[in-house]
């Protein structure tokens, strides 16, 4: 338990490094980088300790700080939930962040960038926010750190604020994700209002539940019909399941924004304006991962809502395919990676939606590694290329930067899903889960799964294609520019992180080789075991966050069932074979088109489709149009209305009064005879009035 006592330090250490870098960074060597490295390194060690403790079967879910005590009302508290899922995520975040910090020494310090304290402060806060999000034991705390993550992305994407592009991209990133967070916030408020708690897992003391969690309450309401205590249902006039679906979808809004799912993915490619290490951090471990992690975190809540599951699966599948097609035609190395990120998170969503909880977490893990690797590799290339990111100006870097090449290749194979690299195992499992649940589940949900599966499968081919198009254009063939012929060498601080990640990208998939496990019967699906926990008792019983529990819910409530069209093992092998085959097909297609010494553009062959793809299906255009073509004119019109009508009425009242005044004063004509006349008239009128009233006449 001692590890848990120090767990808050995992979050606080990077936060301290933020403060140190911000206020003392310019007086420190390396502009505060060392503080960040120390802090994330410390956090990494503590995370490992926590993970080991969790591996020992212990978990932790306690409140640590009372934010709002609440008088005769809800208490709002911060707490830590440390279970296998969050322990795993802590490891990922700390590791990536640590490596990114080191890499930044090469990418930022060695390039003599200004504003380093600000940079490292941003990284520190970013890491701290993400870690806070990961360990949050309730939805409110999660939301708060989720928002802080958004702030940090704004600060870091807009790091080069003296140029025009980065501030704009930063604004877009924050704004688009804020739009998603709007729904998330409604969801958070709604869940608190509905259940009176935002806990992800019940808090227990001495075996007694002292604070129930909302997924458990929801479960009781849907399965056991315990809805008396949920007053909100009467207010909204819906059935429990329908209302929970609404809430779940609202929360999903935030997920779609942060994890860059369709249609809120548009911020992510723009976010490439930030420094490349930041991109690595955002894509691999922090911001984008937050969305998917959130769904996994409160998976029990989604598992009871088939509609929400279908939406998640479809959004994920569609995004996977959609983003992959856009990645086909990009010319800049980071853009390709950006779209691949969107696509890969689509797979995770697909997995979550289709009941593949393990698959999603698995893909999250492997993706974190290989995507960080690819970005850092790209960063290395960018250093070498004097910050020219256009792949058509590269070529032939393979010989000049071997370390970068081989590690990048490792990452690319993982991304493309080539056996035995990490991405193959996880992506295969995602597709497999979608497939078997699609066949097994009755009704619309099953159809949705199959549709999502189809889209995900198709995306595998595109993934292989664009990944190796990138590899060939960047590293193979002849150098197409002077800088590519004479690239700037990179130092250990770049190569070191690449090497670590390159190794991991090749091997991390072994933690859950499900096909192998199935075939051999060996218990080597470690991740499955890790997240499943003991089948009876232990932490899954206390926290209700175990895989077994989720599968029960999926089966009992959403009726997600497995189906094997070809029998269990053949289906598994067929699925793996198809996806591998498609991935290889993509790789080969790329090779055939771009592998030569002097590759040429083939995009023109796509005709009109090229234009559409280059413009990203006009997604940006319509969203910009919504902002500047609709919202802004409406605002202008309202402003006119305000100035003209609302203020006009106010000014009108005063004008009318003053006009009345200017008329009334005309009575005073200056002629004393008129005065006498009016005086007499007044008297006569009074006389007449009272004469009639009093009956004098």
């Amino acid at each position: 338990m001692a590890a848990f006592t120090y767990a808050p330090a995992i979050v606080l250490l990077p936060f301290v490094s933020f403060l140190v870098a911000l206020f003392a960074g310019d007086r420190m060597p390396k502009g505060g980088a060392l503080a960040g490295i120390t802090a994330t390194g410390g956090s990494l060690l503590l995370s490992i300790w926590v993970a080991l403790t969790v591996a020992g079967g212990e978990t932790y879910n306690q409140f640590v700080y009372t934010w709002v005590a609440g008088v005769e009302s809800l208490q709002l508290r911060f707490g830590l939930l440390l279970d296998p899922l969050s322990a795993l995520m802590l490891l990922i975040v700390c590791l990536i962040s640590f490596l990114v910090h080191i890499f930044s020494l090469g990418y930022m310090n060695d390039e003599d960038e200004t504003g380093l304290p600000r940079y490292y402060a941003g990284l520190g806060l970013f890491t701290a926010s993400m870690l806070g999000f990961v360990v949050a034991n309730n939805l409110l705390m999660a939301f708060m750190f989720f928002e802080l993550v958004g702030l940090c992305s704004y600060l870091l994407i807009g790091f080069w604020f003296r140029e025009a592009g980065p501030p704009s991209a930063a604004k877009k990133a924050f704004l688009v994700t804020r739009f998603g967070d709007y729904f998330f916030l409604i969801g958070v408020v709604g869940i608190f209002a509905t259940f009176g708690t935002g806990l992800f897992a019940p808090v227990t003391q001495g075996g007694e539940v002292v604070a129930e969690s909302f997924p458990v309450l929801a479960e009781h309401a849907v399965i056991d019909g315990e809805t008396e205590s949920i007053a909100m249902l009467d207010t909204v006039g819906m059935s429990a399941q329908a209302w929970f679906t609404v809430l779940g979808l609202l929360v999903l809004g935030g997920v779609i924004g942060k994890s860059a799912q369709f249609p809120l993915h548009t911020w992510l490619p723009d976010a490439m304006e930030g420094p490349t290490p930041v991109s690595a951090l955002i894509h691999a471990a922090t911001m984008v991962a937050a969305g998917v992690y959130l769904v996994a975190r409160m998976y029990g809540f989604y598992a009871i809502s088939p509609t929400a599951l279908a939406v998640i699966a479809l959004v994920g599948g569609f995004t996977a395919l959609f983003a992959a097609t856009m990645g086909l035609v990009k010319q800049e190395i980071k853009q390709v990676l950006a779209y691949s990120t969107i696509s890969q998170y689509g797979y995770m969503m697909l997995a979550l939606g289709s009941g593949g909880y393990i698959a999603a977490v698995f893909h999250l893990t492997t993706h974190a590694v290989f995507k960080a690797l690819l970005f850092l590799g790209a960063g290395s290339v960018i250093i070498a290329m004097h910050h020219n990111e256009n792949m058509w100006d590269m070529g032939g870097l393979k010989e000049r930067m071997p370390v970068t090449y081989w590690t990048f290749l490792s990452g690319s194979l993982a991304l493309a899903g080539i056996v035995p690299f990490a991405g193959f195992w996880s992506k295969d499992e995602v597709l497999y889960e979608a497939l078997i649940h699609g066949f097994g589940t009755e009704g619309g949900l099953g159809t949705a799964y199959l549709l999502a599966y189809a889209m995900g499968l198709l995306a595998v081919f595109f993934t292989g294609f664009y990944t190796f198009r990138m590899v060939y254009l960047t590293f193979h063939g002849n150098a197409r520019s002077d800088t590519a012929r004479d690239p700037v060498p990179v130092r250990w601080n770049v190569k070191g992180p690449l090497a670590v990640l390159g190794f991991l990208a090749a091997t991390i998939g072994f933690i859950n080789m499900k096909p192998v496990a199935e075939l051999t019967g060996a218990h080597i699906d470690f991740l499955h075991v890790w997240l499943n926990g003991p089948d009876e008792g232990g932490w899954p019983a206390a926290l209700n966050t175990g895989l077994h529990h989720y599968e029960t819910l999926l089966h009992d409530v959403a009726h997600v069932t497995k189906g094997y069209p070809l029998g269990e093992t053949p289906t598994l092998l067929a699925s793996a074979g198809i996806s591998l085959g498609l991935a290889l097909a993509g790789v080969l297609a790329a090779r055939s088109l771009y592998a030569g010494p002097d590759p040429v553009e083939h995009t023109d062959k796509l005709g009109g489709l090229k234009t559409v793809l280059m413009h990203n299906y006009y997604q940006d255009e319509y969203q910009v149009w919504l902002a500047t073509g609709v919202t802004y004119p409406v605002a202008r019109a309202m402003d006119k209305f305000d100035q003209g009508v609302v203020d006009g009425v106010v000014n009108g009242v005063s004008s009318v009064s003053l006009f009345g005044g200017s008329r009334i004063r005309r009575i005073q004509s200056g002629l004393v005879s008129n005065y006498a006349m009016l005086l007499t008239l007044g008297l006569v009128l009074l006389l007449a009035f009272f004469g009639v009233m009093g009956g004098w006449f």
Binding site: R665, R666, Q668, S669, G670, L671, V672, S673, A676, M677, T680
Partner: protein
């Protein structure tokens, strides 16, 4: 004895004549005279009803009224005099520098 209504009619008539003068004449002096007529209409009432009621209050008031009328004329003439000096006219409608 002449009925009281007759006096009332007489005084009302005198009052109205005075009022008519005020409304129609522009010469300040005639204006002043018209006011005197109105005041005297009141005096008629006082004297007549003093007799009617058999007490002297009315008559006393009439005496006061005459004295005050005289004082008023004195002030009035003075003002009309300075009016003439400033506007070279005793037309009450000439002095209209202040209005609205």
């Amino acid at each position: 004895m002449i009925p009281a209504e007759t006096y009332l009619l007489l005084s009302a008539a005198v009052f109205c004549i005075g009022l008519f003068g005020i409304l129609t004449r522009r010469n300040a002096l005639i204006f002043l005279m018209s006011v005197e007529l109105m005041l005297n209409a009141a005096n008629i009432n006082f004297v007549a009803f003093s007799l009617q009621h058999g007490n002297l209050t009315g008559q006393v008031f009439a005496l006061f009224g005459m004295a005050l009328a005289a004082a008023e004329v004195a002030i009035g003439i003075g003002i009309i005099l300075v009016l003439y000096r400033n506007f070279t006219d005793v037309d009450v409608t000439k002095a209209t520098t202040m209005r609205w």
